[in-house]
Symmetry: C2
Subunit: 240 residues, 2 copies
Amino acid sequence: MELFWSDRISEGLCILDADETAHCVRVLRHREGDEISIIDGEGTLYTCVLLDTAGKEARAKIVGAQQNWGSHPYHLNMAVCPTKNIDRYEWFAEKAAELGIDIISPVIGDHSERKVFKPERLKRILLSAAKQSLKAAVPKIEEAQSVSRFIETSPSGQDCLKLIACCFEGEAPRISINDALRSFSGREIIVLIGPEGDFSQKELELAVKNGFIPIHLGESRLRTETAALTSVEAVYLSKI
Amino acid sequence: MELFWSDRISEGLCILDADETAHCVRVLRHREGDEISIIDGEGTLYTCVLLDTAGKEARAKIVGAQQNWGSHPYHLNMAVCPTKNIDRYEWFAEKAAELGIDIISPVIGDHSERKVFKPERLKRILLSAAKQSLKAAVPKIEEAQSVSRFIETSPSGQDCLKLIACCFEGEAPRISINDALRSFSGREIIVLIGPEGDFSQKELELAVKNGFIPIHLGESRLRTETAALTSVEAVYLSKI
């Protein structure tokens, strides 16, 4: 099954941009009258019939719609410090999108070597991963911000599980991510993953003060991107 | 902590090859008398003192040894069809080694697009992943063979859990990998992961006939390498 994406959907019509049109018409050779599937990136799958394919931007008539198509039974915000080698971050994002996440929040920690983050490439990777894994919702990328600011502005209350994975023990002892997930019945989950140099003591204390539960991911020493994906896997696997 | 590797360990001495010596002496500037840590790739960590660093191959005197250093509480053989784009297979192998696996068995399925597999690059990736994640044992790579041959020569009996992840339902209904792992108390686990085109009906039937349990990995459509890593994560997370 081949998915196309459009952010211009109104009055029963979907308009594909130049890239999607080229892929649909030039590469896959779809013609007027063909039925195609278009996602809006927000969770809805539209079944459409191609109207015209001559121009740079193909138009398609909506004949059906399914909301929450390819959705998952949780809402996961992965707040992960961008890695020194950005390919590793992009790899994590692709795999996380295949499994199912909702938000990627690039956060800059006290020990982060990479202080700047450009989202453009990542957006394309997330869109293609969502299409490839048959999901109508494409994970959102938040603006980059400091770990401290992310912690201080995170939602409070019992209906959101907030976890921070760190490699050292602070005041509050760490529990395994499985135990943390088992003791939570809600949908909303946030996992905070530090940079290669881990969180600072100050960041960990601030997180705990703001309701984050310190967790560990087992005995293995994992790279930042592997720790991040392992957290997504733990959430994903806890629901299958 | 920095690890070096040697396959020439005898009579209380470790000899580092030219690459490891260059890294130890030229890059990290270790000198005679320095204490260094050397793994044998089989599970033992040796604490050593550098004797001479002048030549192409440094020698170190063993002053301590720890067996099963950085080991994990299971024995996992991942039999995975090499992906069309081999980078994805190498990526899976690196992450699997970080988490902890024992054997990678490249298997060629009826629907495999890639029929040949060269292990040289993968060996280097597995060694560096083991060193990076502080494990003294480096995962082994089996000779490439057909899926059918792998199935027919797989161990029989109750002390080994044999799983096959496929995207379609055969005669025997699929269960989730979690349920399969929960119902097993042994150490020995084999997971069979098919190529982009999935297993053939014939391969699935042969596997079931030989005691493999058909499993699914949840609702998401995962790429071959993501399905393989998700299986490793399921085993790893089931033990933390």
